[in-house]
């Protein structure tokens, strides 16, 4: 389904989505971009890249799996375990970038497949993704077109909005998307043939505006297979601080830890929780024997790149990188994934 929505009607449409929990990117008082709940406040799609991708809405940093408590009745001690499933209201993420939606598709693969992660899917099934095509790149480090994405990709999206000056061109890919249109039918018009032409031209133009490029991503992925023991990792990781920025703020990184948080030791009471974790922390691979198979920064940088550009491709035939450029923009020491992969490509040439 394809429609036209006047820009001035956009806030009205968002208002009409009152039976959903609506998230939209917004700038806070200090000028930081992030996804916030719309809460009836001002809404606009005139936005830059958010620091955190919308990953946190589908895959929160902390998720309670179960609650446990010991009770003592007389001399009998009983342990009660209660599963906790997230109760999620229907949710819409408006203004998701096509790359962020592609990342959601990757999370779907990881948390779906043979074993379905019920916690993830409780949220995911309730979530509709409304994308906003990047007719202007939201970040100077965008490189989606180099990793098989595009600034107008529909992958993972339910609706895609494209800016056509005073109106949005609205493409609906799924029934979930159509439901959002039906919520405020009167605001949407049928597109005229020239609008279709315009949107095509806007999409073609948007690809040319991407400023950064990683050449030959697929051949690089092939080459990585033979570079596990390369001295390159040592050199490239010299300036790494071993913080979690590149992975925590990555829309497709999804590693986690499961641990028990004890509220009270006696009587025992607590929760089992899943929290984000990252291959960049030294304790991520620490064995209980004290041995750490990834003992240094080089092996951890290598892991990040190989997971994204080798292992994931072997399993899903996709890069686990959507080219949003956050890891480049936010790295405190300027480690640049494009530059590192450039070196991989040119290595030994």
């Amino acid at each position: 389904m394809e429609k036209i929505l006047a820009k001035k009607s956009f806030p009205q449409w968002v208002k009409k989505l009152d039976s959903w929990r609506v998230y939209i990117p917004r700038k806070d008082e200090e000028g930081r971009w992030n996804y916030f709940e719309a809460d009836g406040g001002e809404v606009s799609l005139d936005v830059l890249q958010t620091t955190l991708p919308p990953k946190k809405i589908l895959f929160p940093q902390r998720e309670v799996f179960l609650e446990f408590a010991k009770t003592l009745a007389g001399n009998r001690e009983t342990l009660e375990i209660k599963e906790v499933l997230p109760e999620v209201k229907p949710t819409v993420i408006i203004g998701a970038r096509p790359c962020e939606a592609r990342a959601a598709w990757m999370l779907d693969e990881v948390f779906g497949g043979e074993f379905k992660d019920v916690y993830y899917w409780k949220r995911r099934d309730q979530t509709t993704l409304v994308g906003f095509a990047c007719t202007t790149p939201p970040s100077e480090n965008c490189f989606c077109t180099s990793v098989e994405g595009s600034p107008h990709s529909e992958e993972g999206l339910d609706l895609l909005l494209t800016d056509l000056g005073d109106r949005y061109y609205v493409q609906s890919m799924t029934a979930k998307g159509e439901k959002l249109i039906s919520a405020a039918k009167a605001l949407f018009e049928e597109p005229k043939p020239e609008a279709k032409k315009q949107v095509k031209a806007a999409h073609a133009e948007s690809e040319k505006k991407i400023r950064r490029q990683l050449k030959d991503a697929r051949p690089i992925a092939q080459k990585l297979k033979g570079m596990f023991d390369s001295p390159l990792w040592d050199e490239e990781s010299m300036s790494c601080l071993r913080c979690g920025i590149c992975t925590y703020l990555c829309p497709s990184c999804h590693c986690f830890d499961i641990g028990d948080e004890v509220e009270s030791p006696s009587p025992l009471k607590g929760q089992r929780v899943r929290t984000w974790d990252t291959c960049q922390f030294p304790d991520f691979t620490m064995h209980s024997s004290g041995h750490n198979p990834r003992p240094d920064k080089a092996s951890r940088l290598r892991q990040r790149l190989l997971h994204k550009f080798q292992y994931f491709i072997q399993v899903y035939d996709k890069f686990m990188c959507v080219g949003c450029g956050r890891c480049i923009t936010l790295c405190p020491v300027g480690i640049d994934i494009i530059k590192v992969l450039d070196k991989v490509r040119d290595h030994g040439a």
């Binding site: 955190l52 940093q61 902390r62 979690g244 641990g259 948080e261 974790d277 020491v333």
Partner: protein
């Protein structure tokens, strides 16, 4: 700012003669205007060194890595490492020497003076440019910043763009060095703790809600800890199982280890993490501002450390990182130290 041609010549000589293992310095970054750490092993690469107001990083952090690397090697190369330091960074070297974390013979210090300038605050720059991308940041002959963007050049007065810490700088040239580039020009400092005035004027309740709001944003990526040259502990209280686990540690011992801080990025845990870090930096933080700069969520961590720096100054007359021969604040006692808290 100093010109570093003289320093480059010396650096080449040091590498050629094998007097240093390698040199940690600044090079051009690939991500816009900001310089990036550069590790130089060959004399011919010395020309890649840069020195300008975008050299914000405190490279002393990498001496911690070097020590760890050496500890893993069976026959470590014992030659010193060359390191470029600004005035503030040199104070971090002093603290590491005071604490005997490194030995003076481990480092060859290539000092650079900021003279009348300092380094750029990336947050201030981003605000000024409002979405535009800076390509270069330079200093003109009148000590004004010249920012080159895609739409041309913008001039700004130094104080508009200088990092807050530079406006409160106590050492605009290195306090310890083997080689110095630039002048030792002292500059006046009217309000050494001026940035604290606003937050100190708030009531306890307002401060509490300010910090709750700030720290609730924390995602515990530990960039602040990772960027800090003083956060060199092998075991950190926030890590789940990093605490000295050996082949002999029993399962029971591991299970019964107290988790002081949970991994969850919740208000209470974030608060404890940041307070633990702040307390451990009292009398050690030299205000290089790297924690705050590295934070992707812009948490104003510098306030915490600056406040403790002020306490150390007011209570003990102690100023961090000027004299390697002095004992560290926490490990010394003097008769004139205030004692009214002892009952």
């Amino acid at each position: 700012m100093a010109k570093i041609e003289d320093l480059k010549e010396e650096a080449k000589k040091l590498l050629r003669e094998g007097k240093v293992k390698y040199i940690i310095g600044y090079g051009a970054g690939s991500n816009g205007w900001l310089a990036a750490p550069l590790f130089i092993k060959k004399p011919e690469d010395v020309d890649k060194l840069v020195w300008d107001p975008t050299c914000v990083h405190n490279l002393v952090r990498f001496l911690v890595d070097e020590k760890r690397r050496k500890a893993r090697q069976k026959q470590p190369d014992k030659r010193p490492v060359g390191i470029m330091v600004k005035g503030c960074d040199s104070r971090a070297v002093v603290v590491l020497l005071q604490e005997k974390f490194i030995d003076r013979s481990d480092v060859y210090i290539l000092g650079v003076s900021c003279e009348k300038m300092g380094v750029v605050d990336d947050a201030k720059l981003a605000k000024k440019l409002a979405g535009k991308k800076a390509k270069r940041v330079e200093v003109d002959a009148q000590d004004r910043f010249v920012v080159t963007t895609e739409d041309g050049k913008i001039e700004m007065a130094a104080e508009e763009l200088l990092a807050e810490r530079c406006l409160e700088c106590k050492a605009n040239f290195p306090v310890i060095y083997d080689l110095l580039s630039g002048e030792k020009t002292k500059r006046p400092l009217d309000k050494p703790f001026g940035s604290l005035e606003k937050i100190e004027s708030l009531s306890a309740a307002d401060r509490s809600s300010f910090w709750k709001e700030q720290l609730d944003r924390c995602i515990r990526c530990y960039a602040c800890r990772s960027a800090c040259p003083m956060c060199y502990c092998d075991e950190c209280v926030v890590d789940s199982i990093n605490l000295a686990v050996t082949a002999d540690t029993t399962a029971d011992e591991k299970a019964q280890r107290i988790h002081w801080i949970q991994r969850s990025a919740e208000s209470s845990e974030n608060l404890v993490y940041h307070l633990v870090r702040a307390i451990h930096l009292a009398g050690r933080c030299i205000d290089c501002g790297e924690c705050e700069r590295a934070c992707p969520l812009d948490i104003p961590l510098r306030f915490l450390n600056k406040k403790l720096e002020k306490e150390a100054k007011e209570l003990f007359g102690y100023e961090v990182g000027f004299d390697p021969a002095l004992p560290a604040l926490i490990s010394c006692f003097r008769d004139e130290d205030p004692q009214d808290f002892i009952r």
